[in-house]
Each structure stands twice: as C-alpha cells, then as structure tokens.
Amino acid sequence: MSVLNFDSKQCERIRRHLDAYLSNELLVETTSDVLRHLESCEGCSRELEARTRVRDALRRAAASQVPPEELRQSIHRQLRKMQPDFLGVSLRVRMVVALAGIIGVVLGTIATEHWIRARRGRQMVASVLALGVSDHIQCAIKGHNYPEIANPPEQLRKKLGPQYAGLLEVVQQKLPGFEILEAHICSVQGSPRKYVHFITRGRGTILSVILTRSEGEQLPNGTAFRSGASGSVNLYEAHLEGMNAAGFQSKEYWGFVVSDLSRDTTMQIAYELAPPLKAALDAGSGSEARADLNRGTQVGVPGGKGCSSKPRRGRSRIPTFA
C-alpha cells in the first residue's frame, strides 16, 4: 500500500464520496461537485478509475461462475414434487379435514345438549329438594309446630289419619335415636302443595321426614344427578338455606330427609329410611291419603289450617336439645 500525496482538503472530501458515487447513491448536487472536482484533479480521477476497475473485474469474475444446469433441473423436479395434486392427495386430505370438521360439529352439538340436559337435571333436583327444605324451615324451624314433649303415638296416628298412620311405625323403626315429636299434614304459605310431615328430635337437633306428591314429575335418573342408591332407590342431595336435604322418589311421591346435620349423616339416614318408606308408599298404604292430599284435606290439624308457614314469634331459631 502506498500513500497518495495530496494537499487538498477538497480531494479528501471528494474521496469520501467516491464509494457512494460508484454506487450511484449520491444526491444530484453532490454528484455535480464530484464531477467538477474529477475534471480538474488527475489523482482523484485515477483513484476513481482504479476503484471502477476493481468493481468491473469483480463483475466479470462473478459472471464467470456458471450456474450448473443440473442444479436448475433438480430444483425444477423438486418443485414439481411439492406441487399439490389437486385431484388426488390434497382433495382426499381436504375431504378428511371436512369430515373431521363435520364430526367435530356433531360431537360438539351432542356435548352441548348433554351439558344442557345435565344443567336442567341438576336444577330440577335442586328445585324438588327445595320443597322439602322450605317445609322443614317454615313449619318445623320457624313455625316450631312441635311440642317439647312428644305427642303420644295415638294422637299422631289420628293427625295423620288412617291413610298415613302406617308410615309412623316405619319412620320410628328406621330412625333409631330420633324421637317423633309431631306428625301432621301441612302446607307452606302461598302454595297449595301439601306435605306429610314427621318432625323428629335427635342428635341435638330437629330433623324432618317429609312426603309430598310428585304430580307425575320424575327426578332425573342419571348417575350424574343422584348421589347414591339404597337398594333400587336412588338418592339425591342438596345443600339449601343452610340445611342438608336428601331426597328419593316413589311412584307418586317425593320423600325428603332434611336437617342441619352433616351431609353424610343426612344421607345415611335417608339411606336407611328411603327403601321401606318407598315400599310402603308404593304398596298403597297412602292411597287413600293421596286422595286426601289432592282434596287439600289437612288431616289432624284443627281448623284445617295445618301448620302454616306463619312463624311463631320468638321461636324461630333452630332448637337444640341436650
């Protein structure tokens, strides 16, 4: 390498532009400056000529690289292989994708329907069990329609009438540790529905066994809705208004066990109680009483008022017993 002798600042400035000049990247004004200088400066002209010579030599050398024809052919063949066969593979693939889409839609629809059915089923279980819970709360807890000392069985049978009197024994037998304080037919204020209501005391609290007509409606039978089974009787459960309720159904009745005992205890009591109660109801022990319930007759309640939901002042708290 040798160093050029020039004393002109102008030459230094122009040479800084020579790369851009060679690449045709200079502004018009700057190009004019460069050209004017080159006309009068042999050194810079020679430098430009040298750079141009290198560039031209590079272009020639690059052009001497002949692209192999076999590479071009190879690329051509590979591109053809990758071209989708519109009447063959891709059509089949498209059909498979379309079929998968249809199956997806069908499965999605089925799943959605299943989900809607399940939701409705759960809602229905909750609404049916809410009947028992509301009678327990309104009649037994808030209404306190039971005596501190249990009514004698004869009186309870009389209140239940001959139609339901037989159930008294079933409840008594299958509720060991619980004392039946009261048994009657009652209703919740604002509803014509009638309930056969056994109010019992045990384990430090009040527990209701309640029966009411199902009016032909059936609780959903799927395993997703029931919480267990006792023999052939499906058991349902819900936690409503602070109470645990277990429910079952016979041919024409819904039965409930409602208390503030634990879920497991309530379910265990229902597990023992539901099969004999269902059997008794299905056997027709309550057939005549059904007629009574349909007529709205309130057996054993003086004045026909039953144990309406009207709470008794000062007795609304849940009683506890040692």
Partner: protein, 191 residues
C-alpha cells in the same frame, strides 16, 4: 401445509417469476459459500423455501429482492453451522473509516481467478455487501432490507469491503511478481 390452503398457487407461476434469478442467486451463493456443494444446497433451499411461502409473495413486486432476502436468511442460518466463519471484529472501527488517504494500487491486468481468490479472503460480512452492491447492483436501502442491517452499517461495510478486496488483489499481483502498473512507489501517484 401452507400450499394446501392456497390451491390456486401454481408452480408454473412460481417458476416463471423466480427461475430467471437463478444465475444471480447461484453466483452470489457460490461466492459466499465455502464450496460448490454448499452453494448448491443453499440455492436449492432458497427455491424450496420460496415456493412454500410463494402465496405470501405479491406478484408484480420485486421477486429478485425477495429471493435474495431468503438467500441471506438461509445463508445466515447456514453460517451458524460453519465453524470456519470469518471473524470480523475490529474491521468497522472508526479509525478504518478515517484512513481514507491510504489507497492501494490496483494491477492493470486482473484475472478472474485472481479476483475470486482475493474475494475469498475478504471476510464474509464485507464480501456479501460488496457482492450485493457491486455485482448485483442493489441500492443501499435494498441491501439494508435484505440483510436486516442499518443503512450506515451497509455503507461502512461496503467501503471497508472494497478496500479489503483491493488490498487482497494487490497482494495476489505482488505474489506473481507483478508491480501495479504505473504506480510510483514513492508517492503512490501514477506516472
């Protein structure tokens, strides 16, 4: 899979747009790759990759620039695998830019072989910018976009790359016992 959703893209259209640039792509790849086999692999990859994404290419726009962009994307991917990639640390220092008055004499007779040998010794980062500017005649802006570099870096690499090539050429000429024609050894000025 992209092509599956774009069945209207025809390979004939792709070839019509892209294959005319095959010689330029090959020459550039050949002068940047380490050997012919690598250059061929590179060009083949460029075309297959371009075909797969051809549905995204807007016909009528600059297909050549698009293919070169893919070439350099693949090249940089390749280069990561090349253990012998040239190191360029220090080449872009400000001192290099200021050393403008030092000009290397250029032989009058330059053989293609000498140029190719000299070019092979220029670090690849400079070589690729020199090739894009001086051989493929891309603008600075196009080079910046193709290589994803700032414009200033393109300019400095081009300037430095040209100087390096010139130095290497002079070295090749000297090794053959050729004195750069007409250069005054005292001043560097031609007689």
């Amino acid at each position: 899979m992209d092509l599956f959703f774009h069945p209207k893209v025809r390979v004939e259209d792709f070839e019509a747009a892209a294959m005319p640039h095959f010689p330029d792509l090959y020459r550039t790849a050949r002068l940047l790759a380490q050997d012919r086999a690598e250059a061929e692999d590179l060009v083949q990859e460029v075309y297959l990759h371009a075909w797969k994404s051809f549905h995204r290419f807007e016909l009528g726009t600059n297909c050549r620039a698009w293919l070169f962009k893919i070439l350099f994307h693949r090249l940089h991917h390749f280069r990561r695998r090349w253990a012998k990639a040239a190191k360029v640390e220090g080449f872009e220092s400000p001192e290099d830019q200021d050393n403008i008055i030092a000009e290397t004499p250029v032989p009058q007779e330059i053989r293609d072989e000498d140029v190719l040998n000299a070019l092979g010794r220029v670090p690849i980062e400079f070589r690729e910018v020199v090739l894009l500017a001086d051989v493929q005649e891309f603008s600075y802006k196009e080079i910046a976009e193709t290589m994803k570099l700032p414009l200033g870096t393109v300019m400095s690499r081009l300037s430095r790359g040209r100087k390096l090539l010139r130095q290497e050429l002079a070295g090749v000429a000297t090794s053959y016992g050729i004195t750069p024609a007409g250069d005054d050894p005292q001043t560097g000025e031609s007689a």
